[in-house]
Each structure stands twice: as C-alpha cells, then as structure tokens.
C-alpha cells in the first residue's frame, strides 16, 4: 500500500491555493436533458507540467469532463479555470487530440497538422514551417504530402498530435487517443509520448479506459466512478520514468498499482 500515494477524494477543494495548478475544475456538474447525470460536483486540480489521466469505466463521464475542460461542452454547474481565469469556450492555451483523429480527408498531412495555425490566420510559410517541425517530431517526416486515407490509424493519430503541438498550447487534452490504434502501434505511441513529454514542457490531461495505459503514462491518475461521474480516488504512481519501457512494465510498483486500481474498479464491471 505504500507503493502509491492516495489523496483522499473527500479532501476539500483548495481553490486558488494550489499555485502550480494550471487547470482547476471547480464543482462541475453536467446533466444531459433531465434524466442523465453525467458528472456531479467534480472538483480537481491539474498541476502544471504533469500528465494526469482520467480513468474509469464507460459511462463515468471522463470524456464529458475533458470536453468541458476543452470548452466544447458547457457545464450545468461549476466552472473551469485555466491559469486562474474562468473559461467560456475553447482557448489558445488548450489543444485537443480527438479519439477519432478528426482529420480532414481532403487535406494533406501537412495541411492537417498546420490547420490550427491556419484558423488563427498564420501565414502559409510560417505555419507550414511550424507544422513541419512537429511532423518530424512525431515521426512522420516524408509523409507531408500524403492524405489521411493513405495512413494507418497510428500514423493518423500522430498527425492529430502534431496538429495539437503546432498551436503551442500549454495544455494538451487527449481523448482516448489510442483507442482506435492497434496494440503494437499503441505501445510504440505510448513510449513516444513519454519521450516527447521530456522535450515539450506540456501539461497533459489524458482520458483512457485502460488501467495499464494510465499507470504506464501518468504522474497522477484520477479515478472516476460511474453514474453520476464523481472523483472516487486520486493515485500518484511512484514509478521512476528514467528507465526503459520494458523495465517500467516489469517494475513491481507498476504491477502493484495496476492490480490495486483494478481491485477498486472491479465493483463497476458489468
């Protein structure tokens, strides 16, 4: 039990006191219509520079929470603060990576990756230079003039990642980015994401339903309980990141944490 730190969910929300929190979720609730309650009174801090996973069974509202943070959905109650300021919609300090990639099929890899900058009115030469840098960074050099239908699922999501990196947002919001990617590519992509984190100083908020993925990638894991979605636990796996991926995956701490989360989530399995 000393393998992980638990932060009690009952602990009162320390709004404003956490100096290093870049995103604050304050008492957020979300209802769809009158019957479906997706989230109930969720309060969370996301520390700057960390990778936090939102983990939970389907129906726990984790994607809803991420979309509210992104400004794509309006909360029914509560508010989101980014860098201390209440948000009213999407903003330049947040970038979204979509579960289904959301690439324009009629645009090349280069144009897709540069699209966030195109929408901001950045000149063609400048935005393509930036996009090119991140295309190289995510390992897609040589594929700039290809179209999405010519790429595999893993490569498509790398384009989605390059697009999110190109707008130079502080916070990356990733909505189950690997769920439509096959297993080998998912592992490679996870390793690449960890390496990329060391280079790019970003705060990542990551939605997943895979316990292994969450433990492998995260500094903090927020466990959500279903119907209505509430924070049930926050876990900080104490896994040293400066070892090889294989070593991490065989680390007893890693395995214990996975096991412990599974015991906690088991009750919600159908």
């Amino acid at each position: 039990m000393n393998a992980v730190d638990h932060i009690r969910a009952e602990q009162p929300h320390r709004a404003g006191t956490a100096a290093d929190a870049i995103v604050e979720v304050c008492g957020v609730s979300k209802r769809y219509g009158s019957s479906v309650e997706a989230l109930r009174d969720v309060s969370l801090d996301f520390p700057k520079g960390q990778l936090t996973s939102l983990l939970g069974p389907s129906g726990c509202g984790k994607t809803t929470l991420l979309k509210i943070i992104a400004g794509l959905l309006e909360p029914t109650a509560g508010e989101i603060r980014v860098k201390g300021t209440k948000i009213t919609g999407p903003g330049p300090e947040r970038a979204f990576v979509f579960q289904d990639f959301a690439l324009m099929p009629w645009a090349t890899v280069l144009r897709n990756a540069a699209f966030g900058l195109e929408l901001r009115g950045v000149s063609k030469a400048e935005r393509e230079k930036t996009a090119q840098h991140y295309i190289n960074e995510v390992g897609l050099a040589g594929f700039e003039q290809r179209y999405p239908h010519e790429l595999s699922g893993g490569m498509r999501q790398r384009v989605g990642l390059a697009r999110a990196l190109s707008v130079n947002a502080d916070v990356l919001l990733l909505d189950e980015p690997f769920s439509a990617v096959d297993e080998q590519n998912r592992r490679k992509f996870q390793e690449d994401l960890l390496r990329l984190r060391q280079v790019e100083n970003k705060t990542l908020i990551f939605v997943t339903h895979s316990i292994e993925e969450a433990v492998y990638l995260s500094d903090r894991i927020v466990l959500l309980s279903p119907r209505p979605g509430r924070v049930s636990d926050i876990i900080e796996p104490k896994i040293s990141r400066d070892r090889s991926p294989d070593e991490i995956r065989r680390d007893p701490t890693y395995l214990d944490t996975v096991e412990e989360i599974w015991r906690g989530l088991r009750a919600y399995a159908d």
């Binding site: 919609g89 999407p90 970038a95 979204f96 979509f98 959301a102 929408l119 390992g139 594929f143």
Partner: protein
C-alpha cells in the same frame, strides 16, 4: 530528439494509389469506348431489321446529324436552347446551394424550406409547366422558370442533407482550434459537403435539360424542341433522333465535366488516386 521515424514497412501496407491506378484508368477508357461502339452496333442492327419504320439505323442518324450541322439548323437550335438552359441552371445552382446550405445550418429555415422542396420534387412538373404560361407568357422567362423548377429541388435538398450530415467531430475540431463560425462553414462543412452537393448539381443539371426540352415542347416550339417536333411531324425520323442524341450527349458531357471540376476544386485526395 524526435520520435521513431517511419520507414517504408508500415507505409508499404497501404501502397500509394497512383501506382496501381494508371493501367486501370487506361483499360477503363477502353471499356467505355467498347461499350459505346457496341451500343451503336446494336442500334444499327435494330434499325436494319427494322423494328419500326420510325426507328432508323445508326448510320442514317449519323448522316442526318452531319447534314444538320452542315446546313446550320442544329447549331442554331442548340444556341437557342442554351440560353434558357444556362440561365436556368446557373440560377438553380446559386439559389439551390445557398438555400440548401442555409437550411442545413439553421433549424428554423429547415422547417420553412424543406417541405416546399420535397413537394416540388414530388410534383409532376410536366403537368404544371403549361400553367407557367398563364403567368409568365411564352417568352424566355417561362422557359427559364421551367428549368429552375425542375433543377432547384434536387440541388437544394442535396445541399441541405450534405450540410446536415457534416461530421460533428470535425466541427468540434474546428471550434476547439478556435475556428470562427465562418471558418467552420468554409473550411470544414462545405468541403465535406461538396461530394453530395455536386451529386445534387449533376442530378439538377440533368433535370434542367429535361426542363428546357419540356418547355420547348410544351410552351413554345423553339430551339431543340422545335427541331424535334418539326422533324417528327414530317417523318424525318433520322433527323429527329440526331437531335435527341445530340441533346443527350450534351447533357452527359456537361455532367462529366462537372465531376472533373469538383475533384479539381474540392477533393484533391480523389484526384491523387484517380490519376
């Protein structure tokens, strides 16, 4: 520091489309030509049996076509017909796309507009076209109106459906990257809707050809309609079929050209795999 770079292994799983499509494109053309030649041969045989005295063989029709081009009657009739056709099709295209897109974007316009176009599409227009003359007489306006009435509903309804079906995920993507409503429409919704809008245009233009010929047969005999009526009345069936074949050919070529325009303007990824 960069991520793993893809080598050819994964890319090879999906061979680039242009490598395989070039020979296929060539044989496709061959099949198309073969199909046309076969059709003309069957026509020739059927005409020579003959099925009916009013059904001349292909060679007679081809000769009649040559005579009518030479004496100038066919080009003159075509020019005459093209005027209401072009005005009508352009009007229907502009109005139809604007109204269709507007109905797709705004629910209150959808409620007001869609039923009207559905009724227009379902109504037997050939029966209604003569009624136009009661209001607009027998001039150019009446013929343009006949073209518009036939072409507009399918263009508007297809544009509407195309916009309505635009991917919610791509629209959310545009918003999350701070795209304005206008950018969302021009950079996401319209390119995504363009294949279906162009399908509507192709159907609409075909309907426009039907409309103009109907108008010339039912309202006032001018242009192509006049030529068809005249040659039928004096039993020059070869000439009559030459005129009909010409207008069909013109419609087919126009619709084919439109497809090229679409791919060139909006869907570069299809051009890449079609060449």
């Amino acid at each position: 520091m960069s991520m793993h770079t893809y080598d050819s292994a994964e890319a090879a799983a999906q061979p680039p489309a242009e490598a395989t499509s070039a020979p296929r494109e060539g044989s496709l053309l061959l099949w198309r030509v073969a199909s046309v030649v076969l059709f003309c041969l069957l026509w020739e045989v059927a005409g020579r049996i003959p099925i009916n005295v009013a059904f001349p063989p292909f060679s007679d029709v081809a000769l009649a076509f040559g005579r009518m081009v030479a004496d100038g009657s066919l080009p003159a009739a075509l020019l005459n017909t093209l005027e209401p056709l072009v005005i009508g099709v352009v009007t229907a295209t502009v109005v139809g796309i604007i109204m269709g897109v507007a109905m797709g974007l705004r629910e209150e316009l959808e409620w007001a507009g869609v039923p009207v176009f559905v009724v227009m599409q379902a109504a037997p227009m050939a029966a209604l076209i003569p009624l136009i003359t009661f209001i607009y007489g027998i001039g150019l306006v009446a013929k343009v109106l006949a073209v518009v009435i036939l072409a507009l509903p399918v263009i508007a309804l297809n544009s509407y459906k195309a916009v309505r079906n635009a991917s919610p995920s791509l629209r959310a993507m545009s918003r999350s990257f701070l795209g304005s409503k206008w950018q969302e429409i021009t950079k996401i919704i319209l390119p995504e809707a363009s294949p279906m809008i162009f399908t509507g245009l192709r159907l609409g233009i075909s309907a426009g050809f039907v409309g103009v010929v109907l108008a010339e047969l039912l309202i006032t005999p001018t242009g192509i309609g006049d030529l068809i009526t005249y040659h039928r009345s004096v039993a020059d069936y070869a000439e009559m079929y030459a005129v009909i074949a010409t207008i069909i050919l013109l419609a087919a070529v126009t619709v084919g050209l439109l497809e090229r325009v679409e791919v060139a303007l909006f869907r570069p990824e299809k051009r890449e795999s079609a060449e």
